[in-house]
């Protein structure tokens, strides 16, 4: 029998479906709780997969991974706390939607887009894995540096109110990410002499602090009449209408899916960057970019499509080259090795049945997510909207504490989370975009590593610095960064030229 068909047949057993369902539900919960990550969930499950046949084990792990990335959207939409770094951008429009009582709409949109994004990533994995992997290794340190610079330039579109302050926030984020051990040189720096700070700032703690705590404080001071906004409006047939609304945005879905897949392929980047780039591109391409950030469904669609597409994308370098693109992929890698499956072309030839079975199981898990996600999401939305604020507030704080502790089992992280909360509140008063700070926090380490490694690489060149500007891929990335940086200016010029609009007051 054709190994692909036999692999697919092997997946179709009741036990495998049961495992995958459990994985989906578990992944969803873990993803929705900030601080519990897909990486931890999969690492916990790995020992149980030893006794399973390899395919069942992989299917379970894959289901957890897919569902956890999607589950992050719940907490992002409902309490403004991205459950995973992959859902940062979902906060921007998802939470305003929930505040307007459109939480259910946001959750449905997130679900449908996650499924579409997941499917796009899987299709790329099944059909294009080897050629795409060849592209992935073309990215060396200089390219990673320019990729992160490109990521930083998003700020000029993201913080459209004041790009200058956005970039200031970005610099602040980068500086904070430098605390701890330096990636090249291995020195301890900026720890104020506290040895517990050697661990640096865990991204999740920063996220919870920056996004979640200021919202809690806002809830505490808000007046009773404002609370009414949280009450959801019941709309009949909302699943159908929202689904149609989402599927109408074909370009947005496709673009975000491709962004997610490509960013997922690059080792080290992953969903946390993909969702922000997709958000940025959706905003740039939109006819009404000013509505982004106010609770527009397009934003949720872009981020959630992109982050689930990174799942398939991230598995491409893993399965073809044995290079895990994301931390969760690293755990799946460990599981593969333990089962005696060596990543590489062998997986697509000798073990083709297992590989294609695994890919097919991801497909099924994605569809399971649709059903489970809609049910759980609707329930959670109902529950949270009924919870009185006096219980909601301490509950969010409680979960923030558990989450920031659980991520590394470190009490110092909880204090750091709270410190970030205070910083988040202050910069909100100063009108600095906390999204920009987070972007700096994510991209800082990537940028530094690429930058210093490139410097080392070019030590023996006649003119060391030229390495940043001479490689073809780097030049392409520089052009993209320049375009992204000056986009607000370009779009202004474009708007003025036809003379239809009155022009902006500068």
């Amino acid at each position: 029998m054709n190994p692909i068909v036999s692999g697919i047949m092997q997946v179709l057993t009741p036990t495998n479906f049961l495992f995958m369902l459990a994985g989906t539900v578990g992944g969803l919960i873990v993803g929705a709780l900030p601080g519990l990550t897909a990486t931890m969930a999969t690492a916990l499950i790995v020992p149980f997969t030893f006794t399973m046949p390899p395919l069942s084990g992989l299917a379970t792990l894959g289901a957890i991974y897919m569902a956890a990335i999607y589950g992050g959207a719940f907490s992002a939409i409902l309490v403004n706390a991205p459950g995973t770094p992959s859902s940062i951008g979902t906060c921007f429009d998802g939470y305003p939607m929930a505040k307007q009582g459109r939480g259910q709409e946001a959750i449905i949109a997130a679900t449908i887009s996650s499924v579409v994004g997941g499917l796009l990533g899987i299709i790329a994995l099944a059909l294009l894995a080897p050629p795409l992997a060849a592209v992935a290794i073309k990215f060396g340190p200089p390219e990673y540096f320019w990729v992160s610079i490109f990521g930083i330039t998003i700020i000029s579109t993201l913080s459209s109110k004041s790009a200058l302050k956005g970039f200031i926030g970005g610099c602040l984020g980068i500086l904070l990410s430098m605390i701890g051990i330096s990636p090249v040189g291995g020195d301890v720096r900026f720890t104020f002499g506290i040895s517990a700070m050697q661990g640096g700032i865990e991204l999740i703690c920063g996220l919870i602090g920056l996004f979640c705590i200021p919202e809690v404080l806002a809830l505490i001071v808000q007046k009773a009449e404002d609370l009414e906004r949280l009450k959801p409006k019941k709309v009949k047939g909302i699943i159908g209408t929202t689904t149609r609304q989402v599927l109408k945005q074909k370009v947005n879905l496709l673009r975000s899916g491709i962004i997610g897949t490509i960013v997922g392929i690059m080792p080290g980047a992953g969903g946390s960057i993909a969702n922000l780039i997709a958000y940025n591109e959706a905003k740039r391409a939109s006819k009404h970019p000013e509505k982004f950030g106010t609770g527009i469904i397009d934003g949720v669609i872009a981020t959630e499509t992109a982050n689930n597409a990174t799942v398939g994308g991230g598995l491409i370098p893993l399965l073809t080259l044995g290079i895990p693109g994301t931390p969760t992929a690293a755990v799946i890698y460990g599981a593969l090795l333990i089962h005696g499956l060596r990543p590489g072309m062998e997986l697509f030839t000798v073990h083709a049945d297992i590989t294609y079975g695994f890919i097919f199981s991801l497909l099924i898990a994605t569809l399971m997510m649709l059903v489970v996600g809609l049910a759980v999401g609707t329930g959670l939305n109902e529950l949270l909207s009924r919870l009185p604020v006096r219980i909601l507030v301490p509950s969010i704080v409680f979960l923030s504490i558990i989450g920031s502790y659980a991520i590394r089992n470190n009490m110092a992280d909880v204090f750091i989370m709270l410190a970030f909360g205070a910083v988040g509140y202050i910069i909100k008063q100063l009108e600095i975009d906390s999204g920009a700070v987070v972007l700096g926090l994510i991209l800082g380490p990537l940028a530094e590593e690429g930058f210093v490694q490139s410097l080392l690489m070019s030590k023996a060149l006649p003119v060391p610095w030229t390495i940043f500007f001479t490689r073809p891929l780097s030049i392409l990335l520089i052009a993209l960064s320049a375009l992204s940086l000056f986009w607000p200016l370009i779009s202004k010029l474009k708007a003025q030229r036809p003379g239809r609009e009155e022009g902006f007051n500068v």
Partner: protein
């Protein structure tokens, strides 16, 4: 009033039910409860894979549950400084990597722990360093590699995992022994360095035997061990090529300072039993790990010897913390 007291009683009951796990102090038979096994590195890495493979056998050997706890950060320092502050009762143990736990306290002003604080219990594996290049690399032998590096100082880039790791130290030692100048480029992990080699961004990798089994695209020029490795039997050792270079990453377990010797011995016996399990051994060797069987004293001795050696090496490089 009555209502309130009812509620209060309920509260108490809940507190009592949920707050189980009150510790029993006297321990005449260790272990009486589950043992926490701290892993200081990311899931999916070598330390994690080893612990996951040990897990089942270790639970059998100890007769208790073993819970794997991740304390990641600072290149392992966060986990180790947590360990030395834990109760010395044997219920908290931690993976211990050499040279990390020797070099970090030497090189950092305050690593949060000292090398002597970790009470060595058992050392179970070694992954020797290997110098590897891409299959299509012009360097066919170590000799060619060294010759080229002599002609073009600093032009040969060697990737590896992190600064002051075994790979970094091995690169420095090779520079000394062969009198060449290389450029060492650290990556965030041994896995993260592989794409840089495959993409041609670095000329070679100073990696570990455990990576070779996974990546057939690499060709090993030499192994930094006193014996050839079963994962690359055709590759000579550095010693065979005339360079006395033996370097690698040892992994074992340690307990907090002040843990009673009886408990240390019980733990060491359990790990020894796991290590001698043929099923476990074959899995480990398949993945490129070299088994070692060092009990508490031998392990401690190894650490003392290595400490002297690394202190000297770091002093020469002017890298000791001031």
């Amino acid at each position: 009033m009555r209502k309130i007291s009812k509620v209060a009683i309920l509260c108490l009951v809940i507190i009592m039910v949920t707050g189980t796990g009150v510790s029993t102090l006297a321990s005449n038979k260790f272990p009486e409860k589950s043992v926490n096994y701290i892993i200081c590195f990311n899931p999916g890495g070598e330390s994690d894979i080893t612990a996951r493979l040990q897990h089942k056998y270790l639970e059998e050997a100890l007769g208790q549950k073993v819970v794997i706890v991740y304390k990641i950060g600072g290149g392992g320092a966060i986990g180790w400084s947590e360990l030395v502050r834990s109760k010395p009762d044997g219920y908290t143990i931690s993976g211990d990597n050499l040279p990390h736990t020797i070099v970090q306290p030497l090189q950092r002003k305050d690593a949060g722990y000292t090398t002597e604080q970790l009470k060595r219990t058992y050392c179970f594996e070694l992954t020797p360093n290997v110098l590897a290049v891409r299959q299509d690399s012009p360097f066919k032998t170590l000799e060619e590699f060294v010759e080229y590096a002599k002609k073009y100082p600093e032009a040969v880039t060697v990737g590896g995992s992190a600064s002051w790791s075994a790979g970094h130290l091995a690169t420095i030692e090779l520079e000394h022994l062969a009198d060449i100048k290389l450029t060492y480029i650290p990556f965030t992990g041994s896995g993260a360095a592989v794409p840089a080699l495959l993409g041609g961004h670095v000329s070679a990798l100073m990696t570990y035997t455990s990576m070779i089994g996974q990546h057939p695209e690499m060709r090993v020029l030499a192994v930094a061990s006193d014996q050839r490795s079963p994962v690359c039997p055709d590759a000579p050792t550095f010693q065979e090529c005339g360079y006395d270079l033996v370097e690698g990453c040892y992994r074992g377990v340690s307990v907090p300072p002040g843990t009673p010797d009886e408990i240390v011995n019980i733990l060491a016996e359990a790990f020894d039993k796991v290590n001698r399990n043929p099923e476990f051994q074959s899995k480990m060797e398949e993945l490129g790990y070299q088994m070692v069987y060092l009990g508490p004293e031998e392990y401690e001795k190894l650490v003392r010897e290595k400490t002297v050696y690394y202190t000297e090496l770091l002093r020469e490089l002017d890298a000791l913390a001031k």
